[in-house]
């Protein structure tokens, strides 16, 4: 655990250093260039692109979370139970559409830029969060939900005070999956002119510059690992805080 934390800390520091002073690493990336190609991406700030990439992912995941959790809450209430199959298939459709197809369909409607990427990521992020929220809300210990009813909590009070707090770690696991998928998928957004780290990779592919491809790929990869681990740690903390460490994490 200690060494793992150290490795992550080092990875974070190296990443930040690279984003702030990319030329420090020019020697390393120079190894992958041919014919005097530039070693470091030179068509825009890497830091700027990374922040934009993260902002798009954050916005899309936040929207997915609000809609997916809201939907899962509605279909687990008595009045919404009949919409459970419908909402499940809707979220599934969102997942089976390849993100490229969503981009292609969204561009005529929304034009080029960030908007179609946001829509694709939003649709793509719905299913993991929706499924996990459903699991979290429906797999609560029966004695606990029975007791919550038996002490005289209203449906609303049970949701806010008992069901959501206990389901939170599982919901968070869904958000974590969604975030990591979106981090990777957002690179494709650059094909429709969204400002993401995909630009670096695409520029590298177009000019046959492996160094660019590596830079874009590595930044996205390290970000994904770090964010995944950070959210996992938060989940464990929540499990312990809610006295459920014994229960298996989804």
């Amino acid at each position: 655990m200690k060494t793992g934390l150290l490795i992550r800390l080092v990875a974070l520091l190296v990443l930040v250093l690279f984003l702030v002073r990319p030329e420090t690493f020019a020697g390393f990336f120079g190894l992958f260039t041919k014919n005097n190609q530039p070693a470091i991406y030179n068509q825009g700030g890497l830091l700027d692109l990374t922040l934009n990439h993260l902002a798009i992912v954050a916005a899309a995941t936040l929207a997915s979370t609000i809609v997916a959790v809201g939907l899962a809450i509605v279909v687990t209430r008595p009045f919404g139970a009949e919409f459970l199959p419908l909402s499940r298939s809707l979220a599934n459709i969102g997942q089976t559409f390849p993100p490229v197809a969503v981009l292609a369909l969204a561009v005529p409607l929304l034009g080029f830029g960030t908007a179609p990427t946001l829509v694709a990521l939003f649709l793509y992020g719905l299913l993991p969060i929706f499924e996990n929220t459903l699991t979290g809300l429906t797999n609560l210990p029966p004695a606990v939900t029975d007791a919550a009813k038996g002490v005289g909590m209203t449906g609303w009070q049970r949701l806010i005070k008992i069901e959501l707090p206990l389901a939170l770690p599982v919901i968070l696991a869904g958000i974590r999956l969604s975030t990591v998928i979106s981090l990777a998928t957002a690179t494709i957004g650059s094909t429709v002119a969204a400002r993401t780290l995909g630009e670096v990779i695409i520029a590298g592919l177009l000019s046959n510059n492996t160094a660019f491809v590596l830079q874009g790929g590595l930044i996205v990869g390290v970000l994904a690992v770090l964010i995944y681990d950070a959210l996992s740690a938060l989940e464990r903390l929540l499990m312990a805080r809610t006295g459920q460490l014994g229960r298996a994490a989804a």
């Binding site: 004695a143 029975d146 009813k149 038996g150 008992i162 460490l245």
Partner: protein, 311 residues
């Protein structure tokens, strides 16, 4: 007083509870006994509207519960279940304070009540109040569960196999605690169990259920002496009858004058315990002790007569 009037619950084609009528007297303990699937739990859960009856009605102190919103009714009725059902993300103190908080008690009154109840259940408030339920032993969790059920001083306490998950030693202690608390607060208790021994020990009256029907509703002595059906007799266990009968009475009520030798028995012990001690030590009589004083004796002959089928 809980009046259950011709109540039926049908799931699909089967009547899980079939036209049951019974009245639970105030300040008494009513134990509903039956095998699993007998409808005993469903019957109990209709009292706090966790299950809606198909037909029939239930009145609490004369008020038809059909007219009261379910959550309001449940806040007035204590509810303790097997596996305690404590909220795992809330501390012991918060768990016990659940109903007072729902009822909007002020903080000071709630805190005082929480500490009072924890002390009553031999859980030092300072030590246990801020712990999470999973840091407690099974017996302690169960006590917190009952403390939570009693927090808002309900007149009625429903208990669904509350001691099912406890080992025999802790269960016996928990049963004694329950009897003491029932005497202290005068709570009307409806307790569901499959254990006839527990029913005889705790119940002022026992309701025996099978396949949704109420077979017999009577005092323990009556059920032991005159079981209404062969099934009731089987539940009691024919070879257990004399001992169950003895377990109903205390030594204190059957002291005879005279002196006996050897280790004395406590006046508060049940006749069954005294009888076991007589047989085990091979003595014809035991001295009886009350508050440290020898006050008389119980004899094997007298107990044997008491164990015989009442005429």
């Amino acid at each position: 007083m809980i009046e259950i009037d011709d109540i039926t619950k049908v799931y699909g084609e089967t009547a899980v509870v079939d036209r049951v009528t019974m009245t639970v007297e105030p300040r008494s303990i009513c134990v509903i006994v039956g095998t699993s699937g007998s409808g005993k739990t469903t019957l109990m859960r209709m009292i706090n509207k966790l299950v809606t009856p198909t037909s029939g009605s239930i009145r609490i102190d004369g008020e038809d519960i059909g007219t009261v919103p379910a959550y309001e009714l449940r806040r007035r009725i204590g509810y303790a279940i097997q596996g305690h059902g404590l909220f795992p993300h809330r501390t012991v103190g918060q768990n016990v304070a659940t109903v007072p908080k729902l009822l909007g008690w002020d903080k000071k009154k709630t805190a005082a009540r929480v500490d009072e109840l924890l002390s009553l259940f031999q859980l030092d408030p300072a030590q246990f109040r801020d712990r999470l339920p999973n840091e407690l032993s099974g017996g302690q969790q169960q006590r917190v569960g009952v403390a939570r059920a009693l927090a808002a001083e309900p007149n009625i306490l429903l208990m669904d196999e509350p001691y099912g998950a406890l080992d025999p030693v802790i269960r016996a202690k928990a049963q004694e605690d329950l009897l003491a608390i029932q005497r202290k607060f005068g709570t009307t208790i409806v307790l569901v169990t499959h254990d006839m021994e527990e029913a005889i020990h705790l119940g002022d009256k026992i309701a025996v259920m099978d396949s949704g029907k109420l077979l017999q509703f009577a005092r323990p002595a009556e059920i032991i002496a005159n079981p209404a059906t062969p099934f009731v007799a089987e539940l009691i266990g024919t070879s257990e009858r004399p001992f169950r009968l003895l377990s109903l009475a205390k030594v204190a009520d059957h002291i005879e004058a005279g002196e006996a030798a050897g280790e004395p028995v406590d006046a508060g012990a049940s006749l069954r315990d005294a009888y076991a001690e007589l047989l085990w030590s091979g003595r014809p009589s035991l001295p009886v002790r009350r508050d440290g004083q020898i006050v008389g004796q119980v004899t094997l002959g007298a107990l044997s007569k008491l164990a015989a089928r009442p005429q």
